[in-house]
Symmetry: C2
Subunit: 241 residues, 2 copies
DNA sequence: CTAATAGTGTCTATTAGACAGTATGTT
DNA sequence: AACATACTGTCTAATAGACACTATTAG
């Protein structure tokens, strides 16, 4: 019921011809990507399993400001680019990644967050299976290490928010599977849940609930120094909502 | 462990002096507010209760583009303004509201969303108790009506997202209470839950779970044409996470 | 055999769903 | 009395937590 005739009438077209964008505040917009993946850190003991850890992709800044510091991969939004387009371009140029699961996280707009000028940044969280992707130009860092690093701009805070988002969504969505390899054991999957939630889970309960989403590949692990484990795959297309 | 001496060294200061913001894409940023409240629509029958509805604040656009159309209250982010500052200013100027609960919703960045120029908009959702606030310059519309209206820009889509956010958070936070009057009956509260979730709830179960968060005022409703109801208030400061 | 992990069975506690049944105002 | 809503009780189903117990491999 829009009586106010959309399809821009003559007066509106005239207004748009006169419009001077330059009069408005010179604020730029960037997109930053928090790319999260799970790495395996080989165990010290032949009996033990490889421990996993949450990792995030960082790039070393080659220009001022924060030259030499690590930062999240990011870049300016072009005039004819959507936020998602910018994200894709940034991921491709700065990390070599394409076609990975991403969702918008939060927009950071404090006035002094960039020393150059006023820049508002829209942060995205992306999840990847490290084993299926190769990275160029960026480097994986464990979140433990990142906590002790001072990243450029407000990027430490962005990572904080990303981890909160993961914790918040893990129990009612299937987002974790974006970070898992094609095939995995239930113990490996459980460890990832534990890393994100920051607490131990009960194996029996975990198997019960997660079991419905998994499909047995028929394969087993071998040479693990203890009882071998069934290998599973994710049954359905991930549920992200 | 930031070896790269923050506190901008001489070279970095030099870089910043030379920096020309004008070279970058002329994109503007706006903030739009989806202000949600619960209205009471008086019943037709003396025996029946007033039915409630979800309402959203809209303003009539006085300038091009979309002159004469309704839109969400919004405005440009100033060069020295955080997103939250802009939100406060916009709410105050266009609706007369201040000190209301707000959270960032989503940033909309499609290229053609504004005919004037490239404008990225950061949308916030705000929740108010209609009975405690008076509005100036804006007007309440029921969501049913809004579904049949064509709002300016992508504002219909923003409202869609806002309602999704409410549905998503209502069961694990106490956000509803931001929309409730100081005192209310459990039936009224249940109706608001039902409006947001779009389905009927079982009274017994609802009372059980919500009861813990409420405190009896000792008062009762009167002249309602049927059994009177206890009147409650919210016990604790709202949990928003 | 032992260390280390895999996997099952079962009891209990908590919570949600269903629904009948009782209570109490106004006209 | 009858209408409309308020409120309680209780049975059942589903789910999560706890934990003991059994199974299986490499060395």
């Amino acid at each position: 019921m829009n009586g106010t005739n959309r399809m821009a009438d003559e007066k509106e077209r005239e207004f748009l011809r006169q419009y001077q964008p330059e009069e408005y505040a010179p604020i730029s917009i960037t997109v930053d990507a928090i790319v999260v993946g799970v790495a395996k850190d080989t165990a010290d003991n032949y009996r033990k399993l490889d421990r996993q850890s949450l990792n995030i992709l960082l790039v070393k800044r080659e220009h001022y400001p924060y030259k030499g510091c690590y930062s999240l991969p990011g870049g300016f939004v072009g005039e004819k680019e959507t936020l998602e387009d910018t994200l894709k371009r940034v991921l491709s140029d700065k990390t070599g990644l394409s076609d990975i699961y991403s969702e918008q996280l939060y927009t950071f707009g404090s006035v002094e967050r960039d020393p150059r000028m006023r820049i508002v940044s829209c942060a995205y969280i992306s999840l990847v299976d490290i084993s299926r992707t190769s990275i160029t130009g960026a480097q994986w860092f464990g979140i433990e290490d990142i906590c002790n690093m001072e990243l450029a701009f407000d990027h430490n805070q962005m990572i904080e928010e990303a981890l909160k988002r993961l914790r918040g969504k893990i129990n009612y969505t299937d987002i974790v599977f974006h970070m898992m390899p094609a095939e995995f054991t239930i113990s490996e999957l459980q460890e990832v849940y534990e890393l994100i939630l920051g607490k131990k889970l009960l194996p029996a309960a975990f198997r019960r609930t997660i079991g419905e989403k998994l499909e047995d590949t028929g394969k087993m692990t071998s040479n693990v120094g203890h009882r071998p484990s069934r290998i599973f795959r994710y049954k359905e297309p991930p549920q992200d909502r």
